[in-house]
């Protein structure tokens, strides 16, 4: 089932920093027990992610990719195996692994500013003064171009704007790893493209380590350094890992007829729709 890593590109491979991996997912399995029924969702997932790397996990719905992200976030416990961040095992949620949720999860009773400020106050209560926390909150809102709406409540802004605030809240925690759980899944195509560009620009600027769940092939190829393709559940595992060797900054329009881009895209499509077709039951999403 596990195919060897197959680099698609024919150019020189990306230079990687030597040494131990930054984030290490080590033989992680996850089973859910309901009564006497035990269903294995994830089976022996192994993945190493370097600092500053942008990794996308792609797979059909129901393959357990969100489960994997929740395990890295610490929101779910592993059945066996471990997740290590800088050689320390993580088994509880924390601001060092901030999550951007698919449905933004902003607190509706707080303004845009207060949503970010809540995170800033909590994470930097000892380290920053009141004034610095205010400045840091505004800095992160400016980073996602949402400073103008700081006094609005989540219900008063559009879906794309909510997701921007969600990203600002996560970035404001200065996480070691940024976890994106289908962050653009609920957005229309134009808003989605706009937001993808913003995320690319932010990643370029901050060089943060990102783990992103997606089911959008173009999104995965455009944004990531590596694409992790998951087999279908039950007992899903990593089927293949694809290096996307495209220089940054990447421009959406220039990539349309780029050979590496087309090749990578074809590789993912082939994996998802030829070799690991979605079971008919799960096809109706």
């Amino acid at each position: 089932m596990i195919a060897p890593v197959a680099p698609v590109s024919h150019t020189t491979p990306r230079a990687k920093p030597a040494g131990r991996p930054f984030l290490q997912i080590d033989g992680v399995s996850k089973s859910f027990v309901r009564g006497s029924m035990v269903s294995e969702v994830l089976s022996r997932i192994d993945l190493r992610i370097d600092q500053g790397e942008y990794v996308a996990i792609i797979g059909h719905s129901g393959c357990g990719k969100s489960t994997l992200l929740n395990i890295v976030a610490g929101l779910l416990e592993v059945t066996s195996g471990a997740v290590l961040l800088e050689d320390k095992e993580v088994n509880a949620p924390g601001p060092d692994r901030a999550v951007v949720f698919q449905n933004h999860s902003l607190l509706p009773w707080l303004t845009v500013y207060d949503n970010v400020r809540l995170a800033v106050d909590k994470v930097f209560s000892g380290a920053k003064s009141r004034k610095e926390r205010h400045a840091w909150t505004m800095h992160n809102l400016e980073l996602v171009q949402m400073a103008h709406a700081k006094d609005k409540r989540p219900m008063e802004i559009s879906g794309g704007m909510k997701q921007r605030v969600g990203i600002a809240r996560a970035l404001a925690m200065e996480p070691k790893v940024l976890l994106l759980d289908e962050p653009f899944g609920a957005l229309d195509a134009l808003t989605r493209a706009h937001l993808q560009d913003s995320v690319m620009a932010i990643h370029q600027k901050l060089k943060n380590t990102v783990l992103m769940i997606t089911h959008d092939v173009d999104e995965a190829v455009l944004l990531s350094d590596r694409i992790v393709m998951m087999t279908n559940g039950p007992a899903a595992t990593i089927g293949e890992v694809l290096e996307v060797d495209l220089r940054r900054p990447r421009k959406r329009l220039e990539l349309v007829d780029n050979a590496t881009y087309i090749h990578a895209r074809a590789g993912v499509l082939e994996f998802l729709y030829a070799r690991h077709k979605a079971p008919t039951l799960q096809a109706a999403e």
Partner: protein, 301 residues
Amino acid sequence: MTRSAATIARIETKENGAIHPASAAVVPFPDPTREPGRLLAMSREAGAIVVPPLIVLTLILLVWQIAASGPKATLPTPLRIWQDAKDLIVDPFFVIGPQDIGLGWRVLTSLQRVAIGFGLAAVVGVALGALVGQSLWAMRGLDPIFQVLRTVPPLAWLPISLAAFRDSAPSAIFVIFITAIWPVIINTAVGIRNIPQDYRNVARILRLNQAEYFWRIMVPAAAPYIFTGLRIGIGLSWLAIVAAEMLTGGVGIGFFIWDAWNSSRLSDIVVALVYIGVIGFVLDRLVALVGHFATRGVAAA
């Protein structure tokens, strides 16, 4: 009805306020073509809200008058009530003797009792509701007991509370408390059980402690439910006031009805019923209004 009237009043004061400072320099001419039209439309709108209930009320009074006019009628007619209880209707705040005071004073005394009983019920109810909503064990243990106790009518609590407190004042407050607390507990628990997993996840990632979680997530997220419970609770506690004040005597509106019945002043009872109805309506709207402001953003999300 009340809201539109208030809006009109606010607009008028605003216009007055704007004209005053301006009159020192330039006197703005009211637009002769548009101003009367707007006023007319506004008064028409207000009329559409006020007129129907007035007509229906008049009809009801008329039917009542005719029905209670017969020689064998047991209840007083509206005209008779007006003659008997004119002092009670016209002036709510007169003081003649220690037991001969306006209904306004009596209502205030009753409201004070309700405030204490309902206030306690709100605090204890939200706390117990939070416990039941948070802990599965507490829910399984307490919920069946709550479901049984909440069906006990206010009057049935009287003897047991008298036996327990051996004093009428705390017993009366206890009756209001025990009547109002159930909807607060049950709605709070439902609200807390319905907090979306996403908010809990946010709290976990931020590592909010128990107190932070309670104030920053739990209370605001469950606020719409809590206020539904409080609104039902204030209605019930006002319902329990007559039962509670049968015990305490003195000056409450509930005791006034009991006292009037014992001395066959039927007209006074009818007036007191109207007082209780109007105050109950105002209390309900008051809690709804506080809830509206307290849950801004959450209810519509």
